[in-house]
């Protein structure tokens, strides 16, 4: 069992959780992910970790309450235990020798952007972070990002409630136009990553994206997470999650992410009906 040692609500629907997992914490690298199962009848869901401490033996992840499992996680408190946490999974993000880089984190994608920014900065890169969300309440990890040795942190919200009003692609485009970056890394909703990749492509700026396809086992066994990269099928869990953003078949990815939308809604509705909790 994996005991919860930290829980913080970051916004109305976004939470940060830390669990005791000393073995995983020893091996964690930026860009990798975990598979989490809340209880014995639970679904295995992939979550990217935002932070870890090898010394103290914990890992943290951020999730948005969207379906039953994340709803259930939101109800769990410090001292409770998750049935299963598996990781670290996936190939760590390549952080060496990236030069001047723009890291775009959208919504809960900041969970990945933060450790990647930290690791790239530690590896000597000049890092600009573009942190975006629909609205101010959904911006996460801003404080932690400010504590990093970044060149700049650009905050963007769709509705202008914090930082610049607009989309993350606006500052990204400006950086490209100014010739201020050698590479980009984007993580967030698929549609955001798609437009980030489209933005940088014009300028020939190599762009890595961290994909989040549906997974079951996370170890290459099921093939649920297959994505088309330059027309070739790859397994997101063992060959990713990072891929060349200019080579991803975005329409396919987004279509595949929607397979269980209705099922998830049904399961969550059932959970909300049957549970007598405060949310």
């Amino acid at each position: 069992m994996f005991r919860i040692v930290h829980k913080r609500q970051l916004s109305d629907t976004v939470y940060e959780m830390g669990v005791e997992a000393p073995r995983i914490a020893r091996k964690a690298r930026a860009g990798q992910f975990l598979m989490v199962r809340a209880d014995a009848s639970g679904e295995r869901i992939p979550l990217t970790f935002s932070d870890w401490s090898a010394e103290e033996g914990w890992v943290r992840f951020i999730f948005m309450r969207v379906g039953k499992t994340t709803h259930q996680l939101a109800h769990m408190e410090v001292g409770d235990s998750l049935a299963d946490v598996v990781g670290p999974l996936g190939v760590p993000t390549h952080v060496e020798g990236v030069g001047r880089v723009a890291i775009v984190g959208g919504g809960v994608g900041a969970a990945v952007a933060y450790p990647v920014a930290r690791a790239m900065a530690e590896a000597g890169a000049e890092v600009t972070v573009i942190l975006g969300a629909r609205t101010a309440d959904l911006l996460v990890l801003e404080e932690q990002l400010r504590a990093l040795p970044l060149k700049e942190l650009i905050v963007v919200t769709d509705d202008g409630t914090a930082g610049r009003k607009g989309l993350v692609t606006h500052p990204l485009k400006e950086l490209c136009e100014a010739g201020a970056i050698d590479a980009a890394f984007a993580v967030g909703p698929a549609i955001m990553m798609k437009f980030c990749a489209a933005t940088t492509k014009e300028f020939g700026v190599p762009t890595t994206v961290s994909l989040n396809p549906i997974m079951v086992d996370g170890t290459g066994m099921c093939g649920a997470c297959r994505v088309s990269i330059d027309g070739v099928t790859k397994f997101g869990c063992v060959e990713g999650p990072d891929f060349d953003g200019h080579a991803v078949d975005w329409e396919e990815l987004m279509s595949r992410q929607r397979v269980y939308t209705e099922d998830e809604r049904d399961a969550d509705a059932e959970f909300t009906r049957s549970c007598k909790c405060r949310h």
Binding site: K68, A83, D84, T219, A224, T233, E252, A267
Partner: protein
């Protein structure tokens, strides 16, 4: 001492397996084969000739003393029968269900030459079930040799790993199994459906292994969490057995394969078996797309399992698309028979050439008619396309069950271990890899095979590991 006298062998025909009615089966994941009653088992056992030279045993990959365990049933001494079985096989209730007995022990039974072999598999299941039905405290747990003080890590808790772990524990070593999923059993848990192998049977047999002192570490992905050299240096294991299986699903490489509704058999079966998606949303949180018209591509046991599972999830029609004929199908005859009884429609000599879809979802599978040509190097007649014979089978789900290959996660984590071009581990006869102290067996060595062959490999490697450990480690 005189040999106790027994009745003459019965000349009765082979005792059929009591089975759930095919019409009822379509709606339930409950087990199809109901198992012999004590009377039926006794009747069947009495058909055995108790040959002086029991050829059946040569057909068993783990060398079970078949003659003796059947003899024990004849004598009505079930505990002795269980003990004999368990001497060589840690998972009799599992093997009694899923072994291809018709190609192994039963094929070598003397009776098979002039009629029907003794139903060795069903008798094995009978004894296995007798044992599993007992409380753990009353089950047959093999004796354990005095502690050697040596520690072994077993990577993977599928049939190879479990067999190896059980053997090593009996030999007195301290064994830890590392399993990447949250539940042990490997393919027994995620792959083989409840209606063919109930989870409680797998759980009970694994429980017996724990009683031997085997430690199970789930959620441990070797290759990500820890690698093989770390197991041997930092974690202090004296030897490592790799039984990680060949779990990476193969696809057909045809257009349209990433449409929604196209599953690998592994994903489909994992959702349903391991994650119990058939109980979604009431009792389990993992969904599965329940197709109305389902096409399954392949002809092995996994294809049969997928087709029959789809039917139980409520499909109106299930097609099994196979490019050769029923004759060449690798699935067990019994399973093909069960599938046909349940209403699976076989589309033989059909090779898929594309998957078509609309709005992201599969709507059909395009297949080309085949005919059998000249025998190839393997002696099998290879299928040849009939020009202009393409047609489309309408369906809303396609399940691809054309095999698996080696997962590179683990072999990458075992530096120095020699692998083939296709990523399988190279071992000697005894399972030894190119790195001293590291052994391997099962599908990661041979490619997809059977449960019992993997168990045989696990046992053989355990014996070799034991020798190696005692020679190199105890001297220090």
């Amino acid at each position: 001492m005189s040999v106790p006298e027994r009745r003459k062998p019965s000349r009765a025909p082979r005792t059929p397996m009591p089975e759930r009615d095919p019409r009822e089966r379509r709606d339930t994941f409950a087990e199809v084969g109901l198992g012999y009653s004590a009377e039926q088992a006794m009747g069947e056992a009495q058909r055995c000739l108790q040959c002086a030279n029991p050829t059946c045993q040569q057909g068993c990959p783990v060398g079970i003393d078949i003659k003796s365990f059947i003899g024990a049933i004849i004598d009505g001494d079930l505990p002795r029968g269980v003990a004999v079985l368990k001497e060589r096989n840690a998972l009799p209730a599992v093997c009694g269900r899923v072994c291809p007995q018709e190609e192994q022990c039963e094929a070598s039974c003397v009776l098979a030459k002039r009629g029907e072999a003794v139903a060795i598999g069903r008798l094995e299941r009978f004894l296995g079930d007798t044992d599993v039905a007992c409380e753990l405290a009353h089950r047959c747990v093999p004796t354990v040799a005095p502690a050697s003080g040596l520690r072994c890590a077993v990577v993977g808790s599928g049939p190879a790993g479990l067999a190896c772990a059980g053997e090593l524990a009996q030999l007195g070593h301290q064994v830890t199994i590392l399993e990447s999923l949250h539940a042990p059993g490997g393919v027994l848990s995620y792959g083989i459906p409840e209606f063919r192998l109930p989870k409680r049977i797998v759980e009970a047999e694994i429980e017996t292994l724990s009683a031997l002192g085997v430690e199970m570490r789930t959620n441990s992905v070797v290759g990500q969490l820890v690698d093989v050299p770390e197991l041997m240096t930092e974690e202090g294991f004296d030897a490592v057995f790799i039984g990680s299986g060949a779990g990476l699903p193969m696809f057909l490489g045809i257009p349209g394969e990433n449409f929604n509704g196209v599953y690998s058999a592994n994903e489909f079966l994992t959702r349903v078996n391991l994650m119990r998606a058939y109980e979604f949303p009431a009792k389990a949180d993992t969904p599965v797309w329940r197709g109305r018209k389902v096409a399954v591509v392949g002809g092995g046991n996994v294809a049969m399992d997928s087709a029959r599972t789809a039917l139980r999830l409520g499909a109106e029609e299930v097609f099994l698309v196979y490019r050769r004929t029923a004759e060449e199908m690798p699935a067990r005859k019994e399973e093909v028979h069960h599938a046909a009884e349940e209403g699976i429609e076989f589309k033989m000599l059909c090779a898929p050439s594309a998957i078509v879809g609309h709005d992201g979802w599969v709507t059909g599978i395009v297949v080309t008619r085949m005919e059998l040509g000249e025998p190839d190097a393997s002696g099998r007649r290879s299928p040849v396309c009939v020009a202009g014979s393409e047609f489309t089978i309408e369906c809303d789900t396609v399940i691809v069950a054309v095999g698996t290959r080696a997962n590179p996660l683990l072999t990458r984590a075992a530096p120095g271990v020699e692998v083939t071009k296709r990523g399988y581990i190279v071992t000697g006869e005894d399972g030894a890899t190119s790195v001293p102290g590291v052994y391997a067996g099962g599908d990661i060595v041979t490619g997809s095979a059977t449960v019992i062959k993997a168990m045989g490999a696990g046992k053989k490697a355990a014996a070799a590991m034991d020798c190696w450990l005692r020679e190199t480690k105890t001297a220090q």
